[in-house]
Symmetry: C2
Subunit: 375 residues, 2 copies
């Protein structure tokens, strides 16, 4: 197991918790800190694999919950796994479906053995246990699989948060036991809601199971960002240094910077692609609603200095404004390319700044100039 998988910690920033690293998988390596575009249904919406290569996506994420429901993990297995099914030869991570079961479906019961839930598509009944989720993720055969966890709601009292965390720990052990793959690598997920004692206990317990890496789940679920940042700070000393750390479902530019300061290596978020389909562009000066009338005759690119296909190709704000107003697919394509490239380029610049001992100044400067955005 974990044959070619390896996390290389290249450099630790002296002034912050930022880390420069590289993760090696059977489908090549990716650099960290990194942002993973989300391909929920085995496609990053509106992107071909060559478009993803063009934005320099090092790794993408796919959703176990959605793929289990449609087209079904057995079909993906028959196709030769996700890489073969969607024709993406670089690294892929699948989440465990834990978050989606708790946020998208009607829960019938949470039991020690697993969760009974109803499909949001047709109301059909399904059961996810740690063993079942491992079976599904092994069929999907991404490079990185996440352990099945219970994502406690916000707010949540200490008693329930502790119960959910302990169940997540027992499930993590069962996932570890059930997971059996030559090429796929399993990450555990730290839970514990917003209680420092629980978060630290969770980080310590999971570290003892020696996963290939660690997700931090149950954050960005409605709490103030400062609360999330505090949690990251408090668990940081207990996270194994030689393993990658993945802050799940978080991906706004300010959260990248704040998370990386606190030792995070990997992020994912649907915001980049979802916003694109509503006509929103991310820029270093905040978001831009391309539908705004002021762009109707603006013949400049989305963002000066951006090297995405849309910006370097000279497609103007006026043209994209026209496309979005006319509901033309190309509008979503160009904005998705821009937003993905914006986020990935930000990560490239962040890595460069860590390399140059300049991360604190770089990130402080961007936060001052208004790069923040909602997740």
């Amino acid at each position: 197991m974990q044959k070619s998988f390896r996390y290389e910690l290249i450099k630790k920033d002296k002034k912050t918790g930022a880390r420069l690293g590289r993760v090696y998988t059977d489908h090549g390596a990716f650099d960290t800190p990194c942002y993973m575009p989300v391909g929920t249904q085995a496609t990053v919406k509106a992107m071909t694999p060559r478009d993803l290569t063009d934005v320099n996506a090092g790794i993408i994420l796919a959703n176990t919950f959605h793929l289990y429901l449609r087209p079904g993990h057995e079909l993906v297995r028959e196709a030769g796994g996700l890489h073969s099914f969607m024709k993406w030869d670089s690294p892929i991570l699948t989440d465990s479906g834990g978050f989606q079961v708790f946020s998208l479906s009607k829960i019938n019961s949470i039991r020690e053995d697993g969760v009974m839930f109803q499909s949001p598509i047709d109301g059909s009944r399904h059961f996810f246990s740690p063993e079942k989720v491992m079976e599904i993720e092994m069929a999907l055969n991404a490079d990185i699989a996440m352990a099945f966890d219970e994502c406690a709601p916000f707010p949540c009292d200490h008693t329930y948060a502790e119960q959910a965390m302990n169940r997540t720990h027992r499930w993590a052990e069962r996932c570890r036991e059930a997971h059996n793959s030559d090429s796929q690598n399993l990450f555990g997920i730290v839970q514990g809601a917003f209680y420092t004692d629980l978060r630290i206990a969770s980080a310590k317990f999971l570290a003892s199971l020696d996963f290939a890496g660690y997700g931090i789940g149950g954050l960005s679920v409605g709490e103030p960002k400062e609360t999330m940042y505090r949690m990251l700070e408090e668990i940081e000393p207990y996270m194994p240094e030689q393993k990658p750390r993945y802050l799940m479902g978080v991906g706004s530019p300010d959260c990248f910077l704040e998370g990386i300061r606190r030792g995070i290596d990997m992020f994912d978020c649907v915001m980049q692609t979802r916003m694109a389909r509503t006509g929103m562009a991310l820029t270093r000066h905040g978001r831009m609603n391309i539908r705004n009338a002021k762009y109707e005759r603006d013949f400049t690119p989305i963002e000066e200095g951006c090297d995405c296909y849309a910006c370097r190709g000279g497609f103007s704000r006026a043209y994209i404004h026209h496309l979005v107003k006319e509901k033309e697919i190309l509008g979503a394509q160009l904005l998705t390319m821009h937003n993905l490239r914006f986020s990935i380029r930000l990560m490239e610049d962040i890595r460069e700044s860590i390399r140059n001992d300049d991360f604190l100044e770089f990130s402080t400067g961007l936060l001052k100039q208004g790069i923040y955005d909602r997740c």
Copy 2:
């Protein structure tokens, strides 16, 4: 005028009316016979310009009527013309809006000076005269502009057909007069409904005006295909040999073959892109509805031997079936690439067969094996 524009008749087929040629424009040359993908609103739906280059589109079409209504030809002029607006550096042809005025909008009156109509978007009133259409097309600044014509309905009595034809001829003269461009080249449009005498009269009259090329309009408007083919045969001797001939709005594979046998050089049709967005693929054995349950676990490409991005990339019918069922944009993208490449590759093969004195056998073989499809 018509500075670099030139039609080179490379070879005439000995057994049929098929012609091998090349058209030179300020934005490069394209080979004929050819199929032009349709970019109604200054975008071939779901395609980036690089996707269009990848399918080897030599020339694309844009719709004057739609672009006049939105975003407006003045805005496109400010952008530097259509090539600059949509970032497509190869040849473009704009239709005259004649067909759309008569098929998409409420007509208030057809007068000698032009047509009063209402916008299908907001009911606002507009007036298209030959001079107005030339102004719009010159603002769009495509390489080829079509003269403003009246497209008579089917069926249509001889008296009305003749009136409409004569009006189209007078409008053609006025277009010729009003058109004034260093780079853009004007094509006349042969009308005359389904009356041989009128069609021949129209071909002769327009030839006398010495346009850069000739459209054949008012066909494929509900008549039997045999009727359309007969019209093409009857006017063929009267079409200037040294000018390109464009059969407007026609683009099914069988119509390509039958039209080319009768001396047609250029075609356009929205079928390829529209069908793609409903899950339909064109193949040499007829159409394929990828939504069909039988493709759910079919891991072969859309069409064996096709070199489009979707087929050569190994995206399977099962994957595209999944994408289309889930309404994922990538499904429309991959099928559009396939359908465009299918049509353009067919044209490449047709040109090769003319070059090899093999067109009659080639086209007969394809028609026998069931390549036909609706327009």
